[in-house]
């Protein structure tokens, strides 16, 4: 509703914070929005949320346990810092009647490196793996008798050597290849997940559709990797050539809830994100379908080395 002239003239100070409400799926929400731009480079020695005994999980574990957590990176050669950028953070409370059933802290936009020794993570971590056929072929190993596998390796490394392949990955169990959103230790392709060539024809993708990941393996190559392999994740779009972040991830949040809660998705406000009971970290796909975290096949197989997050001699643990 447009403010009348009278009302407009009263809005003397603009404000950097405001309160909004929402209601859907039987719950009501109150939110404090903060108009802040936060640039930071920080290190946390130990981040642990939700250390309680949970059925189906090993004793002594936590929903989120990350050692040497860091945001942003430093360049020791020059002493310069590349900060992690957060825009418009907010704090939202979910109520069922007058009872608080969830709290979340989210970022309107986030981009930069997120680093850590991830021991356990609970949540929705969407990763896109991309790479050239030539590299993927080099990782496919076939038993001598597996003609289909050899055939596929030949095609991938031959006709499709220069094509950009992509696969969607998420938190999984290993072995098993089942989705594991709770206290996961691995990330990879779930059972039935296929490779695709985004720029390819229907035929290309039909061919690839014949092969899908099963029990953490696809064409003889492992498709599930321990989270500890990944020292750093780029959040947002990182241009691999310039190593600069070109776009931010929207919809990143950290929440705690006593039951499964549908939180409104920030990038597509007609959608919701289901957060499971417990502590939950959401690093979702962007509105255009791209994941908040994109890594190459090479990085997926070999791990991503941790970026330097400490000034001076150490790279972590400072």
């Amino acid at each position: 509703m447009a403010l009348s002239d009278d009302k407009l003239s009263e809005v003397t100070g603009q404000a950097f914070m405001n309160l909004t409400t929402d209601s859907h799926n039987g719950l009501t929400f109150t939110r404090l929005n903060l108009g802040l731009d936060v640039d930071t480079q920080l290190n946390i020695k130990k981040l642990e949320l939700g250390n309680y005994s949970r059925s189906g999980e090993a004793a002594g574990t936590a929903d989120i346990a990350i050692d040497n957590f860091a945001l942003g990176s430093v360049n020791d050669a020059t002493g310069a810092i590349t900060p992690f950028k957060i825009k418009d953070p907010y704090l939202e409370i979910a109520y069922s009647g007058s009872k608080v059933v969830g709290v979340r802290m989210g970022f309107g936009e986030a981009k930069g490196h997120l680093s850590g020794d991830i021991k356990r993570i609970t949540g929705n971590v969407a990763v896109d793996i991309y790479g050239k056929g030539s590299y993927l072929a080099s990782q496919i190993s076939c038993a001598w008798y597996d003609l289909i596998c050899h055939g596929a390796k030949g095609i991938v490394g031959g006709a499709y050597a220069n094509s950009d392949f992509s696969a969607a990955a998420q938190l999984v169990t290993n072995p098993g290849g089942d989705p594991d959103p709770v206290r996961a230790q691995y990330i990879g392709m779930v059972d039935g997940q296929k490779l695709s060539i985004p720029a390819g024809s229907g035929f290309d993708n039909f061919l690839l559709g014949l092969f899908s990941s099963s029990n953490c393996a696809l064409l003889g190559t492992g498709t599930c990797f321990p989270l500890t392999n990944y020292g750093s994740f780029p959040v947002g779009k990182l241009d691999p050539n310039s190593q600069l972040f070109t776009d931010a991830a929207k919809g990143v949040f950290l929440s705690m809830q006593t039951q499964n809660v549908q939180w409104r998705d920030q990038q597509d406000t007609s959608q919701f994100v289901q957060a499971l009971a417990g502590a939950f970290m959401n690093l979702p796909r962007n509105a255009d379908g791209s994941a908040a975290i994109r890594t190459s096949f090479q990085e997926a197989f070999e791990g991503i080395p941790r970026v330097d997050t400490c000034l001076g001699t150490p790279t972590k643990g400072c």
């Binding site: 003239s9 009263e10 603009q14």
Partner: protein, 194 residues
């Protein structure tokens, strides 16, 4: 009669001898407690009817105020404005502002005196053994329409940015308003540290 007078005079003469002042030694001095003090009651009003800078306009529409008018109401109300305090912590920087400080507050029984503490306080008093300045808080403080605002602005003084000074920018962070009686008791003890 005269002898009686003389006797009285002699008696009086003797008195000063017994009452002659002697320097007190340290031990004696330390036992002398302050007997006096201050007891204060009062009612203070700050800008209850506005201040001298701004006169009160007849409309809440800021664009229609004259050059010397300002109203500090909200929701279409017209209100006088309170005290404004601006602090600039950086050369050529912006200002932290405490704005619209006004209202009436009253209290009874604020006391001020010195006191020696050498006992109590869970055992700390004996080791402390020092004089303190004791400010006794009044048991009740009454507030009426007392307000203040915390803001940041790019200039120290307020200007009407709808008409005369479009470059003036002030962001109110929050404002507070207090009405009623607050019970606050206690003695604030102030003493020099070594």
């Amino acid at each position: 009669m005269i002898s009686k007078l003389c006797a009285i005079a002699l008696a009086c003469a003797a008195l000063p001898v017994w009452a002659e002042m002697q320097a007190l030694d340290d031990e004696g001095l330390s036992q002398v407690e302050g007997q006096g003090g201050v007891y204060l009651s009062g009612e203070f009003s700050v800008n209850k009817n506005g201040g001298v800078l701004w006169s009160t306009p007849t409309t809440a529409n800021q664009a229609q105020w004259t050059a010397d008018q300002r109203s500090c109401g909200r929701n279409g109300q017209i209100e006088v404005c309170g005290l404004r305090l601006g602090i600039r912590s950086e050369a050529n920087g912006g200002w932290f502002v405490l704005d619209n400080i006004k209202g009436i507050f009253s209290f009874e029984g604020l006391t001020l005196r010195t006191r020696l503490i050498n006992s109590g306080f869970g055992g700390d008093g004996a080791a402390f053994n020092q004089d303190v300045l004791e400010l006794g808080l009044p048991n009740e403080m009454k507030f009426k329409n007392t307000t203040f605002s915390v803001a940041v602005a790019n200039q120290g003084g307020w200007q009407n940015n709808k008409t005369y000074a479009p470059s003036f920018q002030q962001t109110n962070i929050f404002s507070g308003q207090i009405d009623g009686t607050v019970r606050v008791q206690g003695n604030v003890l102030i003493f020099p540290k070594n």
